[in-house]
Every structure is written in C-alpha cells, then in structure tokens.
C-alpha cells in the first residue's frame, strides 16, 4: 500500500466534479510512508501513504486497533511520528506542536470545556487568535446558527443533550476556519437516531464550509454514508482506498469484502490464473473470466457476491445463460422489513450464504433446495 494514486486510477476519478462544491477552499493533506511504532509487536501505523485532496471528505475506516485513530492523532500532532512525513499544502507539519497546526478537531466525548458557556466554548479559538471582541460575537452567532443552536449561547455544556453538545463542539472546531477538520468517532457516543441526524448535519456543513474533512470511524454504514473516499485500515496499513461504491462493489480483499456490508464468499479450491478461469461440477459453476490480477489470487481464491446480487431459482435449468451459480439449501430466513434475507447452506462452505429476496416472494421455504445465481460482472475474485 505505497502508491495510492495508482490504486485508484484505473477505477476513474473517485470524486466526480459534480459532487464537490465549485470552489475548493480546503487544503491538501499528504501522508508519506507515515509510521508510528509504540515499541509493541507491530507498528500501530505502518508506512501509510495517503493524499487527502482539498475539500475532500476522507474517512479512515477500520476495526479497533487498526491504526486509524493513531493516524488521525499523528495528523493532529497528538502523537509524534516514528518516521515519514505529513504535509499540509506542501508544508511539512510533522514537527509542529498541535496548537500550531491550525486543524480543527471533533472528539468522541465532545471535550467541551465544562466551566465555559456554549458561546465561550465557541469563542475559545478566536480569543486564542486575538480576534477583536465584536468580530468574535458576530462569528460565534454565525456559526451557532450554522449548527442550529442559536439561543443556547449562555447554557453550560452539561445542560445540553449529547447531540447538542457535539454540535457545539463542531461549531467550536470550525469557527476559526481551520485548514481541515479532523473527526475522531464523533458520533459513536450518540444513540442511533441522533447519529443519523448528525450525519446529515455533518454532510451539510461539509458542503457549506467546503473544507477538507478527515473522519475516523469503525462504523462502515457511517463511512459509506458520509465519505467521498474511504481508506480502509487493517493492522496499521491501508487495506483499500476508494469511493464507498468502489469499496462496496469491488472489494480488493476478503477483509474489505467482509468489513463493508454483507457478502457471500465462495472459497474456490485452488487459485485463479489465466488458464483456470472456469470451475464446473455438479454443485456449481463459476466463470472467472473477469478476474483482476491480484496477488494471492493465483494461490487460493474466493468469489465474493453481495446478497442483493444473488438470484434464486429452483433448478439450474432456470439459471440465465452466462450466469454463475451454486447449489444450496435454505437454512433459515430473516425478515428485515423491506426485504427478507435467506440463509443458504452451501455445499463445502463453512459460512452460510445470504440472499436478499422481496418480502412477497414466497417461492422458497426453509429446507428447500435452491440454486443461487449471479452475473459474473457482479462478482469479485479476491485472495482467500
């Protein structure tokens, strides 16, 4: 994972121009071979290179301990680099103390100053920058309006709900026009409904402010919802970088496939090379003509298909021509509201498969044999 631009290039420009504000006010953040070693078994962040474009909403996604938070802390200056460089608009900031980096930050626990009122909290960065009093008042009022907290100026943080507190923190983090906004799991302390509301709030503010956002989360839904691009972290490295669609539709690895959304993984016996592009026996047929040449795929490969791309028929004769298919048995079913998920027992596979069908579709009951099929272009061959 050293050359990120090469990785994204074949798939086309990740952020289409239409999705971005016409005027790009943000700054570029460039990480080159950034490493943080705490002296444990493996470095927390291992040679990560990543270029965050001006105005981009970049999400660092990953499980606990994957290095995403450490990476954010390195950008913010709360951790010192073991090696590598971090540049903002071409200036190396690796040695700057955090208070000179001009980066706004949103914390998981809000980190509002309990002894100051809402207005004083928001005015804090302006007072540090010796902004004239009248201007402070105007800017505080303006930004509180932006986060829809007008009239709460004189409340203390403890008198506000969690969602309101995070909005104050957001106002405080953007009021001084930072070069970029860093968001460290800002929504994870909130309940589900509030999280949704604040997600759209953050999206709106990103649109209106137009600056670079770097967002850390372990919640893949949140990441897909908000981001222009996602850097998926695993064990201190970037596993895959791309738009949410790319990561969802075209996972490069098994880890990526499993971390983002549901997926069916059919492990093939053996790998995929130029010669062996088709498996066929009594239980299944896989045409792997569209395989991308990825390391490891040649040794041991797996086919990844999203549940919604799986069709179900009673007999393989009904499979549309050219489609891949696998025999299975319906093991269980889950009612999900707008759709049903059928759990499929697949011959020779440990994990059950999952197929999504409409709620009205009653063709298959638990115990029925089925044939699951999909279009080859909907599948993804990854190293198992």
């Amino acid at each position: 994972m050293t050359d990120t631009t090469a990785r994204t290039a074949p798939a086309g420009t990740p952020e289409s121009e239409a999705g971005q504000p016409a005027e790009r006010r943000g700054t570029q953040i460039r990480l080159s071979a950034v490493t943080k070693d705490f002296g444990l078994a493996a470095p927390a962040v291992d040679e990560v290179s990543l270029t965050i474009e001006p105005g981009e909403f970049m999400t660092l996604l990953g499980p606990s301990g994957s290095g995403k938070t450490t990476t954010l802390n390195l950008i913010a200056g709360f951790e010192t680099l073991t090696s590598g460089t971090i540049e903002i608009d071409g200036h190396d900031i690796g040695r700057l103390p955090p208070h000179k980096r001009e980066l706004g930050m949103l914390f998981q626990n809000y980190a509002l100053f309990p002894h100051l009122t809402v207005a004083q909290n928001v005015a804090y960065p302006l007072r540090e920058r010796r902004v004239p009093k009248a201007e402070i008042a105007a800017r505080v009022a303006e930004v509180l309006e932006l986060v829809q907290l007008t009239g709460r100026d004189h409340n203390h943080p403890t008198q506000l709900s969690g969602g309101q507190q995070q909005r104050v923190a957001l106002a405080r983090a953007i009021v001084f026009h930072p070069k970029a906004l860093l968001l460290d799991e800002p929504l994870s302390a909130l309940d589900r409904n509030l999280r949704g509301a604040l997600q759209s709030e953050i999206r709106r503010i990103h649109r209106e402010v137009g600056s670079t956002f770097v967002f850390v989360t372990h919640d893949q839904e949140e990441a897909m919802n908000l981001s222009d691009r996602i850097a998926l972290f695993n064990q201190g490295r970037i596993e895959q970088l791309g738009s949410p669609e790319q990561l969802y539709d075209a996972p490069d690895t098994l880890f990526a496939a499993r971390f983002l959304g549901d997926s069916n993984v059919f492990e093939l016996e053996g790998g995929v090379t130029g010669d062996t592009t088709r498996w066929e026996d009594r239980a299944w047929r896989v045409d792997a003509a569209t395989v991308s040449r990825r390391s490891g795929v040649a040794e041991r490969a797996a086919v990844v298909v999203r549940p919604e791309n799986l069709g179900l028929v009673a007999d393989e004769k009904d499979v549309p021509s050219g489609a891949n298919w696998v025999r299975a048995r319906v093991r269980d079913q889950e009612f999900m509201g707008s759709y049903r998920t059928l759990q499929l027992a697949l011959g020779g596979q440990e994990r059950p498969g999952r197929a999504r069908v409409s709620t009205s579709d009653a063709s298959f009951a638990v115990g029925d044999p089925v044939v699951a099929w999909w279009r080859p272009e909907r599948q993804r061959i990854v190293a198992a």
Partner: protein, 296 residues
C-alpha cells in the same frame, strides 16, 4: 461502539515525559535543598567524617539518659495510643450508626483539633489542667484534692490524645462504616446476646481499622515537642525535647544528628510497617485533604 480499545493504553503511555518531569523539578529542588540536604547533613555529622565512627550512635545507648528517655517516650506513646483507641472506637462506632446530618456534625467535631492552632491548644490545656484550674477545682469539689495533671506525664497524655484522636477515629470510621450491620442482626437472630454478637462478629471485622489507627497514633506520638515541653516537666522529658536540648543547649550537633536519625528511621520504619496494614497512608491522605496542620 467505542474508540480503538487498543489505542487507549498506548495513548496514555506516551504523554511527553520530558515536559512532565520539568514541572516536577522545582518542587524536588525545594524539598531537597530545604529538607533532604539538612537531613543528609545530620546523617553525615552523626558518623563524624573523616573518622567515620559509630561512636555517637553507641553513646546513645550507653549515656544512661537517652535509653531512659526513649523508654519513657515509648511508654507515653503506648498510653496515648490505648487511650485514643478506648475513646475513639465508641465515637467512630456512633458515627456509623447515626443519620447523615448527625454524622457530618460528628465528623466536623473530629476535625476541630486539626485546625485548632498548636499554641492556642496547648495554652488552653495549661489553663484547664493547671493547679487551681477547672479540673483541679472539680476534683476538689468532689473531695479529691491534689489532682493536677500538669507538669507531669498525665497532662501530656491528655493533650496528646486529644490532638491524635482524629488519626484514630478516621481510619476506624472508614473500616467500621464498611461492615454490614445486618451481620449483627443475623447473629442476634441466631441467638447471640448483643454483646456476644458484637464481640464475635463486629469486633473481628473491625480489627484492621484498629491496627491502622493505633499504629498511626503511636508513630505520631513519638515526635511531640511542644506539648511535653509546655505541659510536662523537665525531669520527665521526652525524646523530642532531648533532641532539641542537645542541639540548642549542648551544641552537640553530632550527637543530635545521631539521635535525630534514630528517631527518623524509627518513625519511617513504623510508617512503612503500618503501610502493610493498609490504613495508614490512606488515613494520612484523608487527614491531608480534610485539613491537617502541625501536630506537635
């Protein structure tokens, strides 16, 4: 749901140690220059370089005075400790029984000796205990003349016990307060008399606090200077007075050094030993936060 679990401990491990120690430095310099260097110098003086002798330590045991005074000090400290226990236990017990209002009142009362000025307190005891004072008059009124607990060990004991009682009551209160009183009711329900229930159930559970409090009181009693000087008699001086005398009157700095080191080491050993019983350090912590001042 939460943040990177693995990242958290690492984060706190790396909190700019250099900046932190720089902040501690001034305090270390102050305490070292003003307390540790003088104490170190007394240690050095006591072995009298360049002759490097233990003579001053040996003479503490052979001069015929020091040992006697040490013994008297230990006996006085023991009496004070027992008195503090006998008085403090029922009081701490009562504190655990009463409602919250009465409890905070009792707690404030316990802390009063802490903020009663040393000199005011000793002056007050002189007034109360001296010949013709209220205690003397009271016993004469009862037909017992000659009760003057002043100018002798009894006066010193009365005054020391009063100021050391908080050190007994506070650890006791925290121990007794954590004992589940339902155990007593259970013992009563099983047929024990109230006294037997207390003796067999409550007392064994409270022994930790008793030991902590007694160690603390005993240790602190060893260093009293002003109280024995004002309320005791020169013929019955305690170790602290002997130390002061050697220094200012006899100008025997080496001998004073040896005696001072002996007292210091004894005290620190007792504190370290008491630490193993748990209560002492926390008690001193309580005392320091609730407000201790000079004890002498």
């Amino acid at each position: 749901m939460t943040t990177d679990l693995l990242d958290l401990p690492r984060r706190s491990e790396r909190r700019r140690p250099d900046a932190n120690w720089l902040l501690v430095l001034p305090a270390i310099v102050l305490v070292t220059a003003v307390l540790l260097v003088p104490l170190g110098q007394s240690l050095v003086r006591s072995v009298d370089p360049p002759s490097w002798t233990l003579e001053h330590y040996l003479s503490l045991f052979t001069d015929g005075v020091t040992l006697k005074v040490l013994g008297r000090t230990a006996v006085t400290a023991a009496i004070v400790t027992v008195c503090a226990f006998l008085i403090g236990y029922p009081y701490a017990y009562l504190m655990t029984r009463v409602g919250p209002r009465a409890r905070s009142l009792l707690l404030v009362v316990v802390l009063v000796p802490f903020w009663t000025s040393v000199m005011a307190r000793n002056f007050a005891w002189i007034v109360i205990l001296q010949r013709g004072g209220p205690v003397n008059s009271f016993f004469e009124f009862l037909g017992i003349p000659g009760v003057v607990p002043y100018g002798n060990v009894s006066g010193v004991t009365i005054a020391m016990t009063q100021v050391l009682l908080p050190f007994m009551i506070l650890p006791l209160f925290s121990t007794l307060g954590s004992i589940d009183r339902r155990l007593l009711l259970a013992a009563r329900g099983l047929g024990s008399s109230p006294l037997a229930a207390f003796w067999k159930v409550f007392w064994p559970l409270s022994r930790g606090g008793v030991v902590a409090g007694m160690m603390l009181v005993f240790t602190l009693s060893l260093g009293f200077y002003v109280t024995p000087a004002l309320l005791g008699s020169p013929q019955e001086s305690l170790i602290a007075q002997l130390l002061g005398q050697r220094t200012t009157q006899l100008l025997d700095f080496a001998g004073a050094g040896a005696l001072g080191i002996l007292v210091l080491v004894t005290t620190l050993l007792l504190v370290a030993w008491a630490n193993r019983f748990g209560g002492t350090v926390s008690a001193i912590g309580v005392v320091a936060t609730t407000g201790s001042k000079g004890r002498s």
